[in-house]
Amino acid sequence: MRYIDEYRDPKIAQALVDRIAQRATRQWVIMEICGGQTHTLMRYGIDELIGKQVELVHGPGCPVCVTPIEVVDKAVEIASRPDVIFVSYGDMLRVPGTRCDLFRVKAEGGDVRIAYSPMEAVKIARKNPDKKVVFFGIGFETTAPANAMAVWKAREEGLTNFSELVSHVLVPPAIRLLLNSPTNRVQGFIAPGHVCTVMGYWEYKALVDEYAVPIVVGGFEPVDLLEAIAMLVDQLEAGHAEVQNQYVRSVTYIGNQPAQKIVENVFEVADRKWRGIGTIPQSGLRLRPEFAAYDAEKIFGVESRHADEPAECISSQVLQGLKKPVDCPAFATRCSPERPLGAPMVSAEGACSAYYQYRRHAAELVCVP
């Protein structure tokens, strides 16, 4: 299959593994930002192949994982109302809030539906004028244009029964937070290819210049990631720091400008809390005041909810690359995808979940006392 097979080719992958081994004179610490990339690295065991030359640490780029617990609580509260049809991307349904997850709301009789696109929620609103239809608008820059477009369309059509519960986050402020941390170990970043397909990679130039840290935009297949790592190792060994693009078949420097425009028209940048990390200034998006009529938090009066995360969870250290999932005493014992204690175990793309799903076996063999 085109665009898939060549990026999973064992020969090309081995050539890149060899190139990394030849170039690296020491072990470098590299972080992949996106959960989709973490998933691929674990699924194909890439850390096994290049472990001597590169320590891979896993970034905060799983949108499901970083959605704060109180936002899930708000979703649960809204979805439990009899007058509401609550529509969400599939993998948000299993994320635990304080009391329960959205699956539980569905089991208790709530009308909770999975959609592949927010436009489906707009369609549902059109068909059900007697119900309030709420879309769970979460994600990074990748999902922001579609979520913005749904609100835009709803207003254009004059729909008064559609709203969004918005909890959008942005990648560059999270990288800045990591780089500002006194305990930072990361020496190079693989930037998220899907986010950059929308946003381009001009935003990362400022980070490279300010912190002298190399950043390479990477794709999601094994060869993409090995190539991005090889490009980072080349830069690190040469003492360079620039932003480079490995994912050229999808990403341009300026990105998708119509998509950026619709995001700008509907959303504005705001402070945002990240599950496992805390509040990061100017790190999220919220609906602009002129779209307040589509803001589910305002419509249902749930703005002021607050909730704490389990104290035992070490996700803040995992998401900053300070610890590996297997370093957690609760990993695969008190914390599993069926009963997650914290953010990175809740979605398939979270770092803990990826270790659990693909590498728990190796971890158990290594960690048995």
């Binding site: 192949l49 949108p63 699956f103 094994p222 909730a307």
Partner: protein, 348 residues
């Protein structure tokens, strides 16, 4: 030691309600069996947890099984709920090595369901049974209030005869055995999903719904060194293999390169963030066999229309009992886990 600290805010009482995940064929389904049904019905035959019970009546070995069908949509590319209700139950008999003989058929119909559709479903069920050489000899009909069902649910129960010297069970796999798969995986699950969600692909994906008893008969004519047969329905290939690994107390290692997935199914899975190893099949079988007969058996299967793409996909090992692992395309090893519930489409 307490499982969670008292201050932990996310103690989720997952056990006090049935969720959709309990019907997914994954870990939650296994939990439901273990916690609710096995203790209630406890007996040796059920405890084997095979797809069918094999009973000895006056010296004759009879395979007995039942299955309920709640598929949505009722009509899909490659079949409908009627033909599926025949194939599913026949396959459960066939996986015990049985020659299927008779079916029962119970319809639970929602008030207001169009008679024309019911006729089509009944006719399809009848045609499928006839094509398989089985008779529907008894049945039942119930009608429930509008809103209490979802169109039509069907239950079929089947019986068949098992040869005297044949013992197939998910607990019979032994280290060194070969793992054989009869063809492309994921067709049924993706066909249903595409139809239900209105997803359009360049090439329509058809369900593989088919009765496998004639393929099994030819396999058993070739060799009796078959230890396990399983049809990887809900939960897919990975759930069936995990069950075999656990019930036999063995490890199973798969070769990623050997697992056949059609381009259309792969494309749909890539797009939706699903793994074909967990997607349902309705016309495929997994076989665990003595390695000495594996090549002959694959050759036999390939001569049958439902086994044309059969191949060896892995090996049973003594190492890592209870685990299914996979040698990836890059030569590394990863776990092929059993999912808790259904696979969920990813956000991005």
């Amino acid at each position: 030691m307490s499982v969670l600290t008292p201050s932990c805010p996310i103690i989720i009482p997952v056990k006090d309600h049935v969720s959709l995940g309990h019907g997914s064929g994954g870990k939650l389904s296994a939990q439901l069996m273990r916690d609710v049904f096995l203790p209630a019905f406890t007996n040796e035959t059920l405890a084997r947890l095979d797809d069918q019970a094999v009973l000895i009546v006056n010296g004759t070995r009879i395979a007995f099984t039942t299955d309920s069908f709640v598929v949505k949509p009722l009509f899909f590319p490659g079949g409908d709920i009627g033909s599926l209700a025949v194939h599913g139950t026949i396959n459960d008999l066939a996986m015990g090595g049985a020659q299927p003989l008779f079916l029962s058929c119970a319809f639970i119909i929602e008030e207001g369901f169009p008679m024309e559709k019911l006729r089509r479903i009944a006719a399809s069920l009848g045609r499928a049974a006839e094509a398989c050489g089985v008779k529907v000899v008894t049945g039942d009909t119930k009608v429930v209030d509008k809103g209490s069902g979802d169109g039509v649910f069907i239950n079929t129960t089947g019986i068949g005869l098992v040869p005297n010297n044949l013992f197939l069970s998910a607990s019979e796999a032994r280290p060194g055995d070969a793992v054989i798969l009869s063809g492309y995986i994921g067709d049924h699950g993706i066909a249903i999903l595409a139809e239900r969600e209105g997803l359009e692909f360049e090439t329509a994906i058809e369900s593989d719904s088919a009765a496998l008893h004639t393929l099994v008969a030819e396999m058993l004519d070739t060799t009796r060194a078959i230890r396990v047969l399983r049809d990887p329905t809900r939960g897919g290939v990975s759930s069936s293999l995990n069950e075999i690994a656990q019930q036999s107390g063995v490890g199973i290692i798969l070769d990623e390169q050997a697992i056949p997935v059609r381009d259309e199914v792969r494309g749909a899975c890539e797009m939706l963030g699903l793994d074909p190893l967990y997607v349902a099949n309705e016309g495929k079988l997994l076989s665990i066999v003595d390695p000495a007969v594996a090549d002959d058996l694959v050759a036999t299967m390939r001569r049958h229309p439902l086994g044309r793409d059969a191949r060896r996909i892995g090996t049973v090992t003594a190492k890592d009992p209870g685990w299914v692992t996979m040698r990836t395309l890059l030569g590394t090893t990863r776990i092929v886990d059993m999912l808790a519930g259904d696979q969920l489409p990813r956000i991005c």
